[in-house]
């Protein structure tokens, strides 16, 4: 049955009978405690990804690798990060594969890619809370593209380390939307610092956000933060 499903994958496309791939779904479950069979399944999925199957078929394969992919899947998925129609689904798997190689692959590809695909990769690093990417993201805060700056700021706000906070303090956003992202990320870092017991650094961030030039909701958030630091 599994062989037939992989055979069906070769011609699978939008509008095809979905159930022909069910044996692959079943194999994802049945190989849970059989590492050899699981490795074999992963290898077959990766191999399929290298063939000229349809975008829909590759979409399906990436969804399965999201569930069972290991470091072994990473090189093939990483090659798709720069492919317009497949980059998102490559991240669909890479963002959720726990192996550090997945984050490393995104970090390595980041400088080579521009435009919207880059935004997606930045987002994935943030969602992985990949602290090793903070220096890369810090540099992107200085990018000339406001969309990149906004995305990098939000990712740093997801990572929420003191290094993220430091990078954000150096940001000089030039548009209202990038400013809001930097402010939001800074607040996020301050909350994490406070939760970790680092009140001093948290208060410093909150105080920096109290100026008259800041949006009302940000001043309110900073005030609430200062009160929280004071235990109120």
């Amino acid at each position: 049955m599994l062989d037939q499903a992989f055979e069906a994958l070769k011609t699978y496309d939008w509008g095809a009978e979905r159930n022909v791939l069910s044996p692959i779904n079943e194999a994802v479950l049945s190989t849970r405690n059989d590492s050899a069979a699981r490795n074999e399944l992963e290898s077959r999925l990766v191999a399929a990804l290298k063939t000229p199957i349809s975008r829909d078929a590759k979409d399906f394969v990436c969804r399965k690798l999201m569930q069972i992919g290991t470091a072994a899947s990473v090189p093939t998925l990483a090659e798709l990060l720069s492919v317009k129609d497949l980059s998102h689904m490559a991240r669909f798997a890479l963002e959720r594969i726990p192996a550090q190689e997945a984050a490393q692959a995104i970090r390595d590809a980041l400088p080579k890619i521009s435009g919207p695909l880059k935004l997606g990769m930045i987002s994935s690093l943030g969602q992985r809370k990949d602290s090793a990417s903070v220096p890369l993201l810090a540099k992107l805060l200085m990018d000339t593209d406001p969309a990149i700056v906004r995305s990098a700021a939000l990712a740093l706000g997801s990572i929420r380390t003191s290094e993220s906070a430091k990078a954000l303090s150096n940001a000089r956003p030039t548009s209202p939307e990038t400013q809001l992202a930097v402010l939001d990320a800074s607040l996020s870092c301050a909350e994490a610092l406070l939760a970790a017991g680092n009140k001093g650094d948290a208060i410093a961030i909150y105080k920096s956000l109290l100026g008259d030039g800041q949006p009302k909701q940000v001043r309110l958030a900073a005030t609430r933060g200062i009160l929280a630091c004071a235990g109120r």
């Binding site: 479950l29 689904m89 963002e95 997606g120 930045i122």
Partner: protein
């Protein structure tokens, strides 16, 4: 006027005058409308189907000034605008295809959101970042990871964010009153029957309708070709509607689950908690789940031969009755939200309670998907030591969308 432009003159003059020369009846208010200073300025994002109903409810209120509508379908936008303009007898209602333009407006106090579920988290979080209060239709989240982010945004900015199930309070009064009234004694468990889970959508491509901004409809979801059934707002969860498909919805498990689990968690008073254990039962009568809360109360899902919201109490034993929480203000769940926007209190379906409810649906989905039991650490929002389940906490969003 010398070298001053008309606009500069008006700005200077306005600043100099102690009061407007003419105060309109619209500003002062009348039997139909509250004074402008007491009105909540609102807009709607996603205004087909459920959004249409939400819009009608807010638009009908004297204390709301409805100023803008946003939808990725042109026909929906125009119909919604017409409704607002007819209500106010003018043509002032603004229309937006892209929510970012609407949220950038500083004159809007609150928005209601009724897009498909895959947009909810981004919209609620962005609205909070822009200082807006939010009424968000249920199911509030598409993944477990989104819930805490939405709560965080609401709390960070001190926003009033309400979830959208009116049924939690209004449909299950009988059982809620029995439980809270102490008639059933100590509550042991409650059962919820709801189906089905959403499925992967593989509908064929169709000719793209010029009415819809398809890329924006898909938003953070995986790219797929246009198909009218894929994006239909029909209430079906068994095919031919976005509610049926995994990229946009959890299916009946979240769509009706938001109501039923909402009613169940309310009845047995675990709204402020999340389960810490999900047990997968594969028995002769069928597969079902039991979700145990830290206080020992159990919610079962699809327990064989058990009715929806059937409660197991302790017969013959009674407990001290507790006052049943209810809406604030007037006008049901919508009035509750508006009242809280004014008072800054938490609404009946505060986002945290709504997220706790829908987390039950998501835990069920993951347990059925993996066909096994799970442990859940609600404080850390993860399945402890369970990498396989933790992969299903969230999913990558399509560029350029990000939370």
């Amino acid at each position: 006027m010398g070298t001053k432009t008309r606009r500069e003159f008006i700005q200077t003059a306005s600043a100099t005058l102690a009061a407007p020369y003419v105060i309109t009846s619209t500003a002062l208010g009348n039997d139909e409308r509250a004074p402008a200073s007491d009105r909540i300025v609102m807009a709607g994002i996603g205004i087909g189907n459920m959004g249409k109903g939400d819009q009608g409810a807010f638009l009908g209120r004297k204390d709301v000034q409805y100023v803008a509508v946003c939808d990725v379908r042109n026909s929906v936008r125009e119909t919604a605008k017409r409704k607002v303009d007819e209500r106010y007898g003018n043509t002032d209602c603004k229309v937006y295809n892209d929510f970012r333009e609407l949220l950038a407006r500083t004159d809007i106090d609150a928005v209601h959101v009724a897009t498909p579920d895959h947009w909810h988290a981004i919209l609620v979080i962005e609205a909070c970042r822009h200082g807006k209060d939010v009424y968000c239709q249920k199911p509030e989240t598409l993944t477990l990871r989104e819930g805490p982010l939405m709560i965080q945004a609401a709390r960070r900015y001190g926003r009033v964010v309400s979830g959208g199930s009116q049924r939690v309070l209004e449909d299950y009064k009988g059982i809620v009153n029995q439980c809270w009234g102490g008639e059933l004694g100590k509550i042991k468990s409650i059962n919820v029957n709801v189906d089905p889970l959403s499925q992967l959508c593989n509908l064929p491509a169709e000719q793209l309708s010029p009415d819809i901004d398809w890329d924006l409809w898909l938003g953070p979801a995986a790219w797929a070709p246009y198909n009218a059934a894929r994006c239909s707002g029909s209430f079906s969860t068994a095919g031919n509607s976005w509610r049926s498909y995994i990229d946009y919805s959890g299916g009946g498990m979240t769509d009706w689950g938001a109501h039923h689990f909402g009613g169940a968690t309310f009845a047995v008073d675990v709204r402020e908690l999340q389960p810490d254990e999900v047990t997968f039962h594969d028995e002769k009568e069928g597969k079902f789940l039991s979700l145990r809360y830290p206080n020992g109360i159990v919610i079962t899902h699809n327990r064989p031969k058990t009715g929806n919201l059937a409660v197991e109490g302790t017969p013959g034993e009674s407990r001290e009755p507790k006052p049943v929480p209810t809406y604030k203000g007037e006008g049901g769940i919508y009035g509750d939200f508006i009242d809280c926007v004014k008072t800054r209190e938490k609404p009946f379906r505060d986002i945290e309670l709504a997220v706790n409810t829908i987390a039950v649906s998501h835990l069920c989905i993951i347990a059925y998907q993996l066909q096994r039991s799970l442990k859940w650490d609600s404080a850390k929002q993860e399945f402890p030591g369970d990498a396989e389940a933790n992969r299903l906490l969230d999913r990558a969003r399509r560029e350029p969308w990000q939370v």
